[in-house]
Amino acid sequence: MQPKISVRTEPFDAAAESAALTKGRADIGALVSFIGLCRDEGGALAALELEHYPGMAEEEMARVAQEAARRWPLMGLTAIHRSGRIAPGEPIVLVIAASGHRAAAFAAAEFMMDYLKTRAPFWKKEWRRDGTAGDWVEAKDHDDAAMERWREPGKRGE
């Protein structure tokens, strides 16, 4: 199983990506697709600007995907993250996990998102409707907590 990893500015087609994972095979029993979208924060937000570390972003996403593949019996795994300016309502990130059964597909998709949020080198800056630059979005403690629950006993993380 070779995960598909991509960082790009243009929007993605979630349905086409799901179809690509299942095309020509009949052994997949579960496919979980997650899409993260840009919120307008009650109308105040004009856009999010996604900055990333070229090279490391793809490599870190691939490392997380390999770890997911080690933990669950996956038959397909896709992770696409956009960079650049993204308007409210537009998709930011797509994770698709395919497996024989739903438990592995759900868990792997959630694991991917929890790890991507805290380990993949992306940063969000807010742009306000009045045209001014807002703040850099701050990392949230609950995102770290969400990642921590996947830690395997006896394994030392970074």
């Binding site: 570390y53 490391m56 991507l116 701050e138 990392a139």
Partner: protein
Amino acid sequence: MKAVYFAWVRERVGLTDEEIAPPADVRTVADLLAWQIARGENYAYAFENAKAIRAALDRKHVKHDAPIAGVREVAFFPPMTGG
């Protein structure tokens, strides 16, 4: 070595990247942060709160006690907010 900066670290330093040549007694990421702070006001502003700074050596996450010997690229950035 090459230093690269992202997000508000990049904005505060005022550069996306630069070549740096720290002295031999700068051995770890923590040493490098302290050395950076002494380089000027913009660096002091960017790195004043070391706990808020994440680092990567040759594109891999490291802790601040990691040695920098032999490293080609060091990156400094705030906690990540993708997804």
